[in-house]
Symmetry: C2
């Protein structure tokens, strides 16, 4: 029998796992303990640093509420959310890439006719979003639900300002017809900072990182027989494209926004989405 | 400029650290991100597992209070606390080894004359603890403060039962004289489970691990010119010595407890502590 020492620490902890333990849980926890102990040995973590870490994690948990998830924000800011996304959505050639879901989606947004404007607060410049939902062979997908959401022109989602913004401001769901096309109007989104008044904001500041995300429109597209796609389209030219605080940008998700002279919109952007089969 | 991908994820996150960042913070965070991303890639963490982890960490933070520190418990149960202790207290030959501080120490316990009994609730079997505080050359250390604390015979510290136990039950501070000796009476401690009604208890159950700690008396010994020693002495023969839930046991910290016929105690144990110089 061996007691825990610097040399055998991870092995000792993992040696305690019971025989009847779920094999996947054993695999995940064993690797977690191995890597966690390796990290501590690598940096020779001091007791003061350990105490700071305990305090940081505690504050991160305590600031969480029904409307705030600081651990997701931490995961986002450390690139963990995008890494998990990348591992779980290795995209075949031709399919549209995914990115972070984010904390601001709300289920049950209004189902609207094609072309409807989802901006209800009269702020910002209106943009026509249009394109097709296609399969890997380029065929249109009928009955795809295109669920879209964005911030308003002040950089806040409706759920962040329930008393200031109309309900369902900048949210809507559209259903494709036989030709697979979608079209709706919304604002040309603006870049905004992730909530930075908590532990994650303090971490970013200590690391010399800014909290800004480049402007983007969120899409969640579901269609029978196809894998759900969660992604954004980013506004081309945004100054934060190269330094998204949550690492969500992919080159193929950056769209051109074209200024137009039209009574119904100031901008237009076209983007086709390609779903992969289940 | 490169966006985050499965291949470059840790490098991309660490590449964002600002130039003016404190070098030690940079070193710690870079290693943390490297190891965290390696762990996620190693197990190919699923989105459901990521969500479970976010929920676990959130609950762990939310159950923390003035009287409960679940993240310290998590650190203890994963062997992290003992690893940090081992790294920060590499003990020279001859010095007494340290172990976990634990969450139950209270500053300001009564300073008592040598020989006083610290048990005030009339429960349990009394034991005489005696020995010397020495330097590495075997010379007695005068004016060492020997701060001791233990659970009561029901397995609870006074702070866990503020309405049931007398204040300062099983706590006291003793000051050594010129001969370096200490002596006090307390109970022969009993093994007890760490609080297992929260996330850490659920984790232990899922891993097939029990929450018990072998019986022990806590010591914190401070003396001018010497490094502070935080340790336990464990009750020899305890059935949990080989499976302490927090991995605190070291062979050299296990003491013999001898049954005696005496009007003042039922047990005696002798243990010398050797401090290293600052």
């Amino acid at each position: 029998m061996s007691y825990l020492s610097e040399a055998n620490s991870a092995e000792t902890v993992n040696g305690r796992i019971g025989e009847a333990t779920d094999p996947r849980l054993r695999r995940v926890m064993t690797s977690l303990v191995d890597h966690l102990h390796e990290f501590i040995k690598d940096v020779e973590l001091t007791e003061a640093e350990w105490e700071a870490a305990i305090g940081f994690l505690t504050r991160t948990g305590q600031i969480c509420s029904d409307t705030r998830q600081e651990f997701i924000l931490l995961s986002d800011a450390l690139g963990v959310s995008m890494l998990v996304d990348a591992i779980n959505h290795r995209t075949p050639e031709g399919a549209t890439e995914s990115t972070v879901f984010g904390p601001f989606h709300v289920e049950g947004a209004p189902k609207l006719p094609m072309g409807t404007c989802i901006s209800a607060d009269g702020k910002g410049e209106i943009c026509l979003y249009q394109g097709r939902v296609l399969d890997l062979d380029g065929r249109p997908i009928e009955n795809a639900l295109v669920d879209v959401w964005s911030d308003n022109a002040d950089g806040f989602y409706d759920v962040q300002q329930p008393d200031l913004q109309p309900k369902w401001n900048n949210r809507g769901v559209f259903r494709t017809g036989p030709d697979g096309t979608y079209a709706f109007r919304g604002i040309k989104p603006v870049s905004y900072p992730i909530p930075d008044d908590g532990p994650v904001g303090q971490m970013l500041a200590a690391l010399g990182r800014h909290p800004w995300r480049p402007a983007h429109m969120h899409f969640r597209i579901t269609a029978p027989g196809h894998e759900r796609l969660i992604t954004h389209i980013f506004v081309g030219g945004d100054s934060y494209l190269g330094s998204d605080a949550v690492f969500g940008v992919k080159a193929a998700l950056i769209a051109d926004f074209e200024a137009v002279q039209s009574p119904t919109e100031a901008w237009r952007t076209a983007f086709d989405f390609v779903l992969r089969p289940i």
